[in-house]
């Protein structure tokens, strides 16, 4: 659980760094996509990543189900103020929201890019996809809901993972919890910046024209 969680948190950093290249230019973004498509290490890591997700999800289901049997008779009154964070009590629900978006994400990006490569066909232009999807307000909203769920999941998960593998003590506990918040905020803001940049860019600053021109040149 903790090891797969730590691994997924490293993956998030790599993923969001690549996303951020789209803020600079379409060229940089397409180059980053090209790199991910061809680099050997990346090809090796893809199945490892899939495995990481599967291990994390299976463990989470086992732990959640097992823990549900530990209190067969529930309390009539539960005081919500008991000092545990909301996120820590709802990790499974948050995980499921993250997973739901992952499905959507696969459908919209992976199926149009990576899957096409696997099938031996030309994939969709990655930058075009961004414009197409993020020009729709409801897709932006969904994306932001997902990122917020992710924020809560990792703001607890980050320090929790260290605690679970025993790398913690009374001095580091508060420090790790602050680092967890910082990590979660940075990753979250980085993810959210993409839909915001594109949505407002397209609808208010004529970004679309510029991009279509670029893409036409590029392809």
């Amino acid at each position: 659980m903790s090891l797969s969680g730590l691994f997924l948190m490293i993956f998030l950093v790599v993923h969001v760094s690549l996303n951020l290249t789209a803020l600079f230019s379409s060229k940089a973004y397409l180059a980053a996509c090209e790199f991910m498509d061809t680099n050997l290490l990346v090809q090796v890591m893809v199945p490892v990543l899939a495995l990481g997700f599967i291990v994390h999800i299976i463990c989470s289901i086992i732990v959640t189900l097992r823990n549900q049997t530990a209190r067969p008779v529930k309390y009539l009154v539960v005081n919500k103020a008991a000092a545990s964070s909301w996120a820590s009590k709802n990790m499974f629900v948050l995980g499921v929201i993250v997973l739901g978006f992952l499905g959507l994400h696969f459908f919209h990006f992976w199926a149009k890019m990576q899957l096409q490569h696997i099938l031996g066909q030309e994939g969709a232009n990655a930058y075009n996809l961004l414009i197409e999807l993020f020009s729709k307000w409801y897709y932006c909203v969904l994306y932001i809901v997902w990122v917020i769920a992710l924020y809560f999941h990792i703001s607890h998960g980050f320090w929790s993972a260290f605690q679970s593998i025993g790398i913690n003590n009374s001095k580091w506990l508060p420090r790790l919890q602050i680092i967890a918040k910082i990590y979660a905020i940075v990753v979250t803001l980085a993810f959210i910046s993409i839909p915001i940049y594109f949505f407002f860019g397209i609808h208010f600053f004529g970004l679309q024209k510029l991009i279509i021109y670029h893409v036409q040149l590029g392809s």
Partner: protein
């Protein structure tokens, strides 16, 4: 003061339980919570009714016998205390007070508010002791132990085995209790030798008895009457993982 009480009644371990409502009157604010229950029981006995069964012993916060989930919190609405140290001045006149037993698959209800916490004894029997030969009683201070280590072992030893951690944890996990024991012994030279094996044996017993798994929600340390920190759980995890890696 006057209170309305809603108390869990259950004839025995097998019977189906239910909530029963009571009224108590003429309670001084300085009455302890258990004394208030004594007054209620006195009234019940005079009226020829069955008194409410609840656990208690020292009534000074050191034995861990008293329990009770009061208005949704283990040991009621005060910090770092047991139920015997809770006073009625912490409530408002006329309050409705709901009293439930600890709820955990591993702590079955014996009668009314009394639960069987024998599972904790079984966990201790699985490894919460020192079995290496430590020789005769040495003179004081002949074994050098740093102040920091001694303090940490002492903090962990403060656990009174009350079970509030299990009662509060949404997963019904006994990790704080196990961690307190493992930490108290691992920090001292005699206990250190078996620290890893002890962690493994105690965790295995905890799982076997039907306690849940820790997901680091921190609810236990918030409700522990002795303020045991979850930092001890990190140490337990460390010892446990080291033991597993060596297998």
């Amino acid at each position: 003061m006057k209170f309305k009480l809603k108390i869990w009644r259950q004839k025995n371990a097998k019977a189906k339980g239910y909530f029963e409502d009571f009224d108590v009157d003429n309670i001084s604010p300085d009455t302890s919570f258990l004394e208030m229950l004594d007054i209620l029981n006195n009234n019940l006995i005079s009226a020829g009714k069955e008194p409410v069964a609840f656990d208690h012993d020292c009534r000074e916060g050191i034995c861990g016998m008293c329990s009770l989930y009061i208005n949704g919190r283990a040991h009621g609405p005060d910090e770092d205390i047991t139920t015997c140290q809770l006073h009625m001045r912490k409530f408002k006149d006329g309050d409705l007070i709901t009293v439930e037993p600890w709820r955990s698959a591993a702590f079955p209800v014996v009668k009314d508010l009394v639960v069987n916490r024998n599972a904790f004894d079984q966990i201790l029997q699985a490894g919460g002791f020192v079995s290496v030969n430590t020789g005769g009683v040495p003179d004081g201070n002949t074994i050098p132990i740093s102040k920091l280590d001694a303090d940490e072992a002492m903090d962990a030893s403060a656990c009174i085995g009350c079970g509030a951690c299990v009662a509060t944890c949404k997963n019904g996990s006994a990790m704080l209790f196990v961690a307190a024991r493992v930490s108290a012994l691992a920090k001292l030279p005699q206990g250190k030798v078996e620290a890893q094996q002890r962690a493994k044996a105690m965790v295995a017993k905890m799982d076997e008895l039907g306690f849940g798994s820790c997901t680091n929600t921190q609810a236990c340390q918030a409700e522990c009457p002795k303020g045991i920190s979850i930092a001890h759980i990190a140490r337990l995890n460390r010892e446990f993982l080291c033991a597993k890696l060596k297998d």
